[in-house]
Amino acid sequence: MKIVVPLKQTVDLVEELELNDEATDVEREYLTFKLNEWDEQALEEALLLKDAGVASVTVVGLEEEDIDQSLYSALAKGADEAVKLTGDFSAGVSSHRRAAILADYLQGAGYDAVLIGVQTPEDLDGQAGGILAGLLNVPHVSVAVGVEPLDAGLKVTQEFGAGVAHELAVTGPAVIGVQAARQAPRYVPISRIRAAMGEGGLSEVPAPEVDVPAGLTVRRMYAPESSSHAEMLSGGVDAVAARIVEIIRERGVLK
């Protein structure tokens, strides 16, 4: 079974987010980007299926900042094939555009299942996986916490929270939004990624032009002015520790 895992570079949220001049999006120029953490989970789950001997794994990424690093890292982890869809994506890509590009690519390349991260922090216009499934007209199962072989298809565990989940059987091509792999993503040393880079092996395909009619306009983005903010404690570690003890005693939490 051929599994395709789309990879997306996302803003590293640990960084300070500055807005562009129009305040309609983050100023991308000075940000660092890393692989979307849920795509990393999707990749791990796909590699587990490969390890089980039932799948080959193709990773595909748009030409976004540092995507090569993520694609080669996937190859170093054991992916069979890596594809870069080239084009100018420096201004960011909406989920609908991403999904339309991926749908076009997948219709040409063939696939049995798409495993994609359940979301990215930038999915303002929805989760790309669901839109992709809709465009391809195949079943979608999202918030998956396990994807395992079952007969000729897959068994997908779909999580609802508070420990409740459903197991579903899926036959035929499908898009699965992965929340968490059955195990933590495998680690690959930087030396192996460098070696993979040295070997090359990334195929480049120009991203198709897609027509994505707009229905939405971002008027502005802003940092939420929250109605409250924590009272910040200062004065060094010991002073803060002493103050916390005082607070929880005052509140009667400590008996």
């Binding site: 303002l124 992709l132 502005r220 940092a223």
Partner: protein, 315 residues
């Protein structure tokens, strides 16, 4: 386009979710008319608990459990047929699952992580949470659209149940997805929803080897260790200890958040705690917006200091 606002009714085991009632409340606040869409198998009576102008009841064996493929197909057929102005769906597993397919199948835009909607002339203005809750986006919706609403954003609907209209299910033959089993919660561990003091750790704790720091503090304070999703996904803590949207919703007397950024999915599970104290080196972390007290000290310094200070008190 009609002016109706559709709300997808999410129900499990015979119970309609709170988030559904919140979506109905939002629809009502926009002025309606509010139409609850109830996909079910022999559970028409659920309509009695829905405060909407109308309820569309679609009964089919395929809806005996949430089956993504059947839901997406039925919703798309209804939306094409009735052409509502908006479709509101909770941003739960169900909303995350069917929002995208519905958008693509009906050619309507999708606004995700919505915290609130307002009418502005002919336009509807949505406010969405983006970048892990660090930013809000204000989005103008010109025509019809699909919106997934975050939990807790609006008050639940009030009023009285609407009239029920029975609608025939669309042709649902040839489904490629089949329900197998429902997995129930694991009851073998402590139930963190019953604990009064939670020392909760996030990715900032760095690794399984450091959980001991939180455990020592929990022991000193008489509490229990819980954590954010990445911590349980990585196996540093048991899944039963997870707080948040897909974990447990907790309301302890004290919630000490250590190395947790405060993503919306985490806040969903703990923002009602009576006293929240957050420790996070990033002064802009959203957790500080819900915490009562905060410190930007490094947790690796502060947790041991706090343990020591507490041992001084309780000894």
């Amino acid at each position: 386009m009609s002016q109706e606002i559709f709300v997808l009714v999410e129900h499990h085991n015979g119970e309609v979710t709170d988030a559904t009632h919140e979506c109905l409340g939002q629809a009502e606040a926009l002025g309606g008319p509010t139409v609850a869409v109830l996909l079910h198998s022999g559970e028409r009576a659920l309509a009695d608990g829905l405060y909407a102008d109308r309820v569309l009841s679609v009964d089919d064996a395929a809806f005996s459990h949430f089956l993504p493929e059947a839901y997406a197909a039925a919703l798309a057929a209804l939306v094409r047929d009735r052409d509502p102005r908006l479709v509101l769906i909770a941003n739960s597993t169900v909303g995350i699952d069917v929002g995208g397919p519905l958008s693509a199948r009906t050619g309507r835009p999708l606004v995700a992580y919505c915290k609130g909607l307002a009418v502005e002339g002919d336009t509807i203005l949505a406010t969405s949470q983006v970048y892990g809750g660090k930013l809000n986006a204000e989005v103008e919706i010109a025509g019809p659209a699909i919106v997934t609403m975050v939990a807790g954003a609006t008050a639940p609907a009030e009023g009285s149940p609407g009239s029920v209209e029975d609608v025939a299910a669309p042709e649902l033959g040839g489904l490629q997805t089949r329900f197998l089993t429902r997995i129930e919660p694991d009851g073998s561990d402590v139930d963190i929803t019953g604990e009064e003091i939670l020392v909760s750790v996030g990715r900032g704790i760095g690794g399984e080897d450091n959980i001991g720091l939180a455990q020592e503090l929990a022991d000193a304070i008489g509490g229990t260790v819980s954590g954010s999703r990445p911590v349980t996904d990585a196996g540093w803590l048991a899944k039963t200890r997870q707080v948040g949207k897909s974990g447990r919703k907790v309301k302890p007397k004290l919630y000490l958040a250590c190395g947790i950024s405060g993503a919306p999915e985490h806040l969903e599970g703990m923002s009602d705690a009576e006293l929240i104290i957050a420790i996070n080196t990033d002064e802009k972390a959203p957790i500080f917006d819900v915490a009562h007290y905060g410190s930007t000290e490094d947790l690796f310094d502060l947790l041991p200091a706090l343990t020591e200070a507490l041992e001084g008190v309780t000894a």
